[in-house]
């Protein structure tokens, strides 16, 4: 029987691909989630190929940045407090059972990292401190461990489309090596999407490889997304710079050009005021609340935070500098591919999702400042997805081999004649999703206004010609992924007529208790939405004064 999802797709020929691979598990993406998935799958005896669009070790938001980790000792009360701490901020949508799993898996995996030689710092009592990872060090180690686990890495090898068999199960992917120009075809028993979130090419630190490619590929085979309204995270940083690392702005004061303080502006709760102010005038910051001890700790904690300042000759502790907010979309949002079981399987057989490509609502509902929770989710979900994919993939490979179909559409297998410019599509999407008045705080008329143009743009490229060559195909697929992501995002934002988590609606400025549900979305030519109710259970915090 042929699944409706495979109707009309282009069959894969046995001679396609200048490089061919045949593995149990294919992992797309080589950031934290992808590398943990590869290690976990290989540890279960699966043959593993990891394809990274860039270079596994430097790709993604973590490698150049570093991250806090949601790492909490296995003390019952400490864990209960950790679960409760951001629960209300996330709009009461997180799930305590998933938080428990992630806290435990993160604990275990961080101990693996220590065994593997990650040089964790120790405090003055000699106790190891494991709630922060330096990105370059972490990801260099992860690349090494992936190789030692026996998995094969192909760098600069963006996937272009998934492969499905005739019952709709995912059975590999095709892609290109953008340096050699070689095409590759990987037949696999299962595929893990670990391609990260989508930051809309905003040049936020490490985010320009994160263009939602995996979301597009997954949606083309019928995968569902969840929480795409929780997608409007903006990173704070110097206006001229890419370094959107916001922890230290805890010790900043924010100013107008005339030197007057912007009362109430701040990195966490006061970020909305910064967004509001930036609509009409520049905003300046100075880390003037950091004493000498804090300043020294900052230098030791985040060397990269100071790079832009040192190189521009600015002392951020004594001089004001202009700041901006760069859209980090779903990278520091929580929306992504919906997962349907503890192995982070999607609703499509053979397809798994991990890291920022997957929804993080399970552990943080509708809010995350990025960092700790997303990092814990990446290494936990990667670990589980790798295990699930190994089990599924080995069984699938053992069954009768069937033909494969190419699932890619826009930019690859459309039938129109009209050429289209990927850069123009990128700019058009950015014009709808970057402005604070459209995306920081949303409102129905502007969402509808944007969706009219975004939908029309999709219809146009959908009926246009495929990309002229492979290099352009990579760009075209990125542009299509940005566009698809923007449409799930704004369609979901329009449907959530309340303010919850990071999703803010101007005309619905408060939380509506009747909307404590998930918004599941999907579809490309027609974007659809479904409300999903959960039996939410609220975690119990420690009584006042006992908190850790």
């Amino acid at each position: 029987m042929t699944d409706a999802r495979v109707f009309g797709k282009v069959p894969l020929s046995g001679t396609d691909g200048s490089r061919r691979y045949d593995v149990d598990v294919l992992v797309l993406g080589g950031g934290p989630a992808g590398t943990w998935a590869a290690i976990s799958a290989a540890a279960r005896g699966a043959s593993v190929l990891l394809a990274d669009k860039g270079y596994c070790g430097t790709s993604g938001a973590t490698a150049p940045s570093g991250t806090g980790i949601w790492y909490v000792e296995p003390d019952r009360q400490a864990r209960e407090d950790a679960k409760a701490s951001r629960y209300a901020l996330g709009g009461h949508l997180a799930e305590p059972a998933w938080m428990d799993r992630v806290l435990e898996q993160t604990w275990v995996n961080l101990h693996h990292l220590a065994e593997w030689g990650y040089p964790f710092p120790v405090d003055q009592d000699g106790k190891p401190q494991r709630n922060s990872l330096q990105g370059p060090e972490y990801m260099r180690l992860m690349r090494k461990r992936v190789k030692e686990a026996g998995a094969q890495i192909i760098d600069h090898s963006p996937a272009l489309e998934l492969l499905v068999n005739d019952d709709g199960a995912v059975c590999g992917a095709t892609g290109v090596n953008r340096q050699s120009g070689d095409t590759w075809v990987a037949r696999a028993g299962a595929v893990v999407i670990a391609t990260g979130g989508c930051a809309f090419l905003s040049r936020a630190l490490g985010c320009n490889v994160l263009t939602g490619d995996g979301l597009l590929m997954a949606a083309e085979v019928g995968a569902e997304l969840s929480g795409m309204e929780f997608s409007n995270a903006y990173g704070l940083g110097p206006a001229f710079s890419s370094v959107t690392k916001s922890l230290f702005y805890n010790w900043a004061t924010f100013y107008r050009a005339d030197g007057s303080e912007i009362e109430g502006a701040g990195s966490a709760k006061g970020r909305g005021l910064i967004a509001d102010t930036l609509r009409t005038e520049p905003v300046y910051a100075q880390l003037d609340r950091a004493d000498a001890q804090l300043q020294a700790w900052m230098r030791g904690a985040q060397p990269n935070f100071f790079l832009p300042f040192d190189r521009q000759g600015i002392d951020p502790f004594t001089q004001r500098f202009p700041v901006t907010l760069r859209l980090e979309g779903t990278v520091r949002g929580t929306g992504g591919l919906n997962v349907v079981d503890g192995h982070c399987a999607t609703n499509v057989p053979g397809l798994y999702a991990a890291g920022d490509a997957a929804t993080r609502e399970l552990i943080c509902g509708g809010f995350t400042g990025g960092g700790s929770h997303n990092a814990a989710w990446a290494l936990s979900s990667g670990f589980w997805a790798g295990a699930g994919a190994a089990e599924f993939g080995r069984q699938a490979k053992a069954s009768i081999r069937r033909g494969a179909l190419r699932a890619g559409e826009v930019g690859l297998h459309t039938r129109g004649q009209q050429r289209w410019d990927a850069n123009e599509v990128v700019r058009a999407v950015q014009a709808e999703v970057f402005p604070y008045e459209r995306n920081w705080t949303r409102q129905a008329d502007l969402l509808e206004d944007s969706l009219t143009r975004l939908d029309a743009l999709w219809t146009r490229i959908r009926s246009s010609a495929p990309a002229a060559d492979l290099q352009q195909a990579v760009r075209a697929r990125e542009a299509a992924a940005l566009l698809a992501t923007s449409r799930w995002m704004y369609r979901s934002a329009l449907a959530r007529t309340e303010t919850r988590g990071m999703h803010r609606r101007k005309e619905h400025a408060v939380l509506d208790t009747s909307q404590r549900h998930r918004l599941v979305s999907g579809g490309l030519d027609e974007v659809w939405l479904r409300r999903e109710d959960k039996a939410y259970r609220t975690p119990q915090a420690a009584p006042e004064g006992v908190s850790a």
Binding site: P64, S242, L294
Partner: protein, 109 residues
């Protein structure tokens, strides 16, 4: 964005061509790599960390090219500074062991 590939320091190992996550460089036979796609640079500074010769300099300006040259005193002073700060390279110890984030995370609001 990436601004400088120092012809005097570069040994042509092409590690940067591989390590750049956004494929900005292009290998050139018997010469230092070329910055072929500067506009794709995401100013992540990773190429500097992976360059064993400190031959690369990334200006901190994210959205446009900077007008600087290798001879500028500031560039001379800062080229290789990030690799030094993270303790990568021969005769160095990774500074990850001195990561004081935990002190700051304790005190952040």
């Amino acid at each position: 964005m990436i601004e400088i590939v120092s012809a005097t320091r570069c040994t042509g190992c092409n590690i940067c061509v591989h390590a750049c996550p956004t494929n900005v460089f292009e290998a050139v036979p018997a010469a230092p790599p070329r910055v072929a796609r500067q506009d794709d640079c995401q100013t992540c500074f990773m190429c500097e960390l992976y360059c064993p010769e400190d031959a690369l300099y990334v200006a901190p300006i994210a959205d446009e090219a900077a007008r600087i040259s290798e001879q500028d005193a500031s560039v001379q002073a800062l080229i290789g500074s990030y690799r030094r700060d993270v303790g990568w390279g021969r005769q160095r110890q990774s500074t990850a062991a001195a990561d004081s984030s935990f002190e700051l995370l304790l005190r952040a609001r």
